[in-house]
Symmetry: C3
Subunit: 289 residues, 3 copies
Amino acid sequence: MEVLSALNLGDFAQVFSKMGMFPVFDVAYYIVSIIYLKYEPGSVEVSRRSPVASWLCAMLYCFGSYILADIMLGSSPIDYFQHNSHILLASAVWYLIFYCPLNLFYKCVVFLPVKLVLVALKEVVRTRKIAAGVHHAFHAYHHGFFIMVIVGYVKGSGVALISNFEQLLRGVWRPETNEILNMSFPTKASLYGAILFTLQETHYLPVSKSTLILVFTLFMATSKIVMTARHSHGSPFALIESWVCHLLFGSPLGGSEEDHHAPAAPSSPLKTKEELSDGARKRKAKKAE
Amino acid sequence: MEVLSALNLGDFAQVFSKMGMFPVFDVAYYIVSIIYLKYEPGSVEVSRRSPVASWLCAMLYCFGSYILADIMLGSSPIDYFQHNSHILLASAVWYLIFYCPLNLFYKCVVFLPVKLVLVALKEVVRTRKIAAGVHHAFHAYHHGFFIMVIVGYVKGSGVALISNFEQLLRGVWRPETNEILNMSFPTKASLYGAILFTLQETHYLPVSKSTLILVFTLFMATSKIVMTARHSHGSPFALIESWVCHLLFGSPLGGSEEDHHAPAAPSSPLKTKEELSDGARKRKAKKAE
Amino acid sequence: MEVLSALNLGDFAQVFSKMGMFPVFDVAYYIVSIIYLKYEPGSVEVSRRSPVASWLCAMLYCFGSYILADIMLGSSPIDYFQHNSHILLASAVWYLIFYCPLNLFYKCVVFLPVKLVLVALKEVVRTRKIAAGVHHAFHAYHHGFFIMVIVGYVKGSGVALISNFEQLLRGVWRPETNEILNMSFPTKASLYGAILFTLQETHYLPVSKSTLILVFTLFMATSKIVMTARHSHGSPFALIESWVCHLLFGSPLGGSEEDHHAPAAPSSPLKTKEELSDGARKRKAKKAE
């Protein structure tokens, strides 16, 4: 920590962790989330046939983390929908991405340099959400370590955790996989992040929250930028995880990468969401238009 | 409004909007709802094999709107079940419709003139529910326009919105469609109604609530009577919707009627609930007995 | 009741109904529940591939009744997760059953004499849960008879009622059946128990609660021990139910045993969970390892 203070990074972390997210960061979050919705096969047809279903899916993509966290803490699941400006902003982004003439807006935001910036901004929001989720749960349950981790986790992962039901809204049903069975990198990172923030909140981790936010944001942003730039879905945790899982749970060595190809119990010939690279998904989305 | 007051319609609207719903209107609501449950293929077998599942489905059909609205506002989903008299009444209707000797009760209530009256009474209840839902949400969230619309909407649509899960209770699973993807007339009308009542509640629509209730009830009752009498599922909104959707969302012209036949993304050869006319459903229900 | 007091059974019932459940009885409950999870085909593979999914399933098996009851009463579904010691204990049991070297722990607890004791202890916990659920609901809704029965029922049945969604977490989807359509003995007994405890709580049943707890526990424990020892899934209620259902609901005579083999409406060639005897499930679980 002394190195940090010498570099005056403590002050910077403080300022960074107090910075308002609305509207710049939030808009980036909405754009990246709804781009991912547009990548989903069939989502463009749904937006033509049933704008209400498409709008609902977009709202789940943008606010799924709030909905899930509110459910977990026993509040109204649509509590966040009282923030009209956020909903209107997300709706505008949804409209621009799906219905902009000549697909202009979409083409701008998926232009790689723009997208990399947006992806980085999204991770800033994600980290804040995890920290806020853990803090919120801490106020409701002072000793509920598991509750803190769960709420932080759902705040970070958002719609991914309920993707089966989000797909159902679009008439798609893939029961053979889900985000818990095959965790993607952001979901895993949210879990680890939630554990770290819980340890910080309960003073088992001797770091200030602002520093943790800064460090975790940098890690997440860097990872996601690299992964987006390389169209990769490999996780930086793969090696450690593979060994830890082998030791603790007797998982076969080779890591989570190979897991998908193992003859899973009730698997289907369908490819999982994770196996479709960003590139492939983009091509599909383009063809569908 | 002056015309209305000259005709003394304002007073009438006032009286109409204060009229108690229990028990006459509520019974009509229960009867029509459970008739629709009996139309569902397989529901008669379920009533023989597992009365508990059949009863639960009937309760979802009768009280789905309360359950959904309670969930949306973060209350206990079974809060409405404290009204023992309502539950007992609905259970009696369920018993009579499914188990009455010689199927006598069912034959009486599906006799067209009787059914038309019941259908009209049901729409009276539906309109009141939408108004009550919006009002309830307004008290919880004074500026939550979206929340008001959502709560009014689920109060009006009821079980239709969770029909996938209601079917699952009967062992049926049709993931390729749902009520949001293919909205039926009552669901659409509930959405528009919820928007109107929200505008009224927030004083953007300069009408008294009692007048709006009267007008909307008349519209709904007339539409449903005509549709039931003609065994039709066409919507009076079809033309306007088709143009608005074409302009705003680039939907192909031709309206929602043709939508069902369009080669939908992940469709199946199964007919959707909407495509089965009332007549066909009745015939199926008869054969199943 | 005089006979009971003469035998001093009233005092014994009093003591029995005040006895603490933590940790001995709770551990038995966790062990038996997680053994049933391990019997499920595919669950061992899931524990290797995705320990998080396996842990979540185990938590649903152990605490599903609390989660469901909290949902029903509008509380936070993860409210019970504030009891860290219970969660840690259940997690330890899960770890030992799935990952213990040489499968030693599992082999010990499924050794029949041990298992019979554990099964009996589990029923003690189940009865207490039903009574506590009814009591809890009674405090929230003094005249909500239906709510009391529902909450007592979900407290007694636990994960069985949401088994479709628990399976989905493991990538398995069997929509053609569910615990409401084909009730197993514990689910049925929980329903009847919830009705009895509701009648007791509202003073329609002139018995003391401690006596009812004692009698119901003895009935449940005896039934489950006999059924486990004989690898049977027949229900002691079969004969009465078959006649009552025949008279009230026109169900074909022959009872619930034959029901499964009747050509059910939307059935599939898959065997239901109930038709797999304990023995068959054990064999499958062994092969999977």
